[in-house]
Amino acid sequence: MGKILTRMGDGSRVEMTAAEIQQDLEAAAQDAAERANVPSLTDDEIKYLLDLYKCKDRVVGVEEGKECCLTYDNMTSKIKRAHIPISKIQQLLLFERGLGADTLELAHIDYSFKQCKHVVQYEKPNMEQAVLQTIAPIFYGSMPNLGLYSVPDGPVANPGDMLPLGKIEESKEAFEQMAEYAIKDMVYVGSELYEKAGADGINFDTTAAAGDAEFYAALKAAEILHDKYPDMGIEMGMSGEFILGLHSEIEYNGVRLAGLYPQDQVKLAEQAGVTIFGPAINIGTNESLPWNLARSIVFTKACSEAAEIPIHANLGMGVGGVPLTLTPPLDALSRASKAHVELCRLDGL
């Protein structure tokens, strides 16, 4: 059999034999299973993935009946980012009516709760207008972005400056202070957009990018919002396969957050009142897409099996088996989407 055309994690084209692809699939699945202490892929699942790469169709899709929901983060920046001058409302309508999006998301171009706080009184009329004109459920979305609460962008001393000096306790305190500021902003923005402007829910995007203290802040904010508004939809999208322990000891409901893999992350999200959870598995650019996809499937499947709430895996630039490129190739994106949905019993992407 001839070689199979696929890609590396950086998007470059590569030709591999079926045996090489199988080897990558098996090695990656095993590696992920050992890291997260979860089951590896079965022989049937490996065969499924191998067949997916053998298939020469440029674009593939899920089987009839396995369709799932498609949510987008930072929706009102996506089209603008392509330098198409278009208003937020127009973008939402374009996604809803033109592109068939299942959910909508209003967002500020600087996608951080801290920055949204300053413009919340301008975002509320946008949401009020959007809910009158659209039909699909609508989030207000943003990132916790804990780094913005430390110097030079915020009031707290920067742990990045203290750690190299061995000031460990001081850095932990700084992370805790940053988390408190972030919780306040997330609850404030979430409350304003939900209670006063009519959003269906809030999306915490790229959660825990700044480590365990950021995960704590997002969980706590979700918990407070859920207590205030039991019907509020809360989506939490993650940023990496395990929680980076930058603080290292911070806990939520008695569970240490550092080092948690998706199957444990989702359980805490459920406790906090999150209604949709999005695991995010980053790509290794030096490995093949089969390697990356198998790895992402192992983590995501374990998460989906552990979950009671819907799982919307993150798939896009550099996550979920999609290459780290500004323009994700459809051959890669459609294969990653199909495999995640069908093998992980996903609720959405």
Binding site: G100, Q133, D200, E308, D347
Partner: protein
């Protein structure tokens, strides 16, 4: 799933506001709409269903519900509180939740 081209927005609502997994959410919506689960992702079937139920569709025809108007009906149909619908009712003085028979 296809958003308002199909029943994607309705299924997403159950996931978002009730935390339902995909199969449960689809089953719930299909029952409420009186269609099969497979029909939910069928643009042809759903276009007709949405028009008949007046819950908004992509290609609008005159007098078909749009925006908040459609969401009033969606809330009723799915037996699901929709935040902006409730807010709208309060603002314009419609007090009862199921109020527009």
């Amino acid at each position: 799933m296809g958003g308002i081209r199909t029943a994607g927005d309705l299924v997403a609502r159950l996931q978002l506001n009730r935390g339902m997994r995909i199969d449960a959410a689809k089953k719930y919506v299909a029952e409420k709409l009186g269609v099969s689960v497979l029909d939910l992702s069928d643009t042809v079937v759903m276009s007709e269903v949405r028009e008949e139920l007046d819950i908004g569709r992509v290609n609008e025809t005159p007098a078909v519900a749009k925006g908040i108007d459609a969401k009033f009906r969606i809330a009723e149909l799915l037996d699901l509180a929709i935040n902006c619908v409730n807010m709208f009712k309060e603002r314009v003085g419609i007090r009862a939740y199921q109020s527009f028979d």
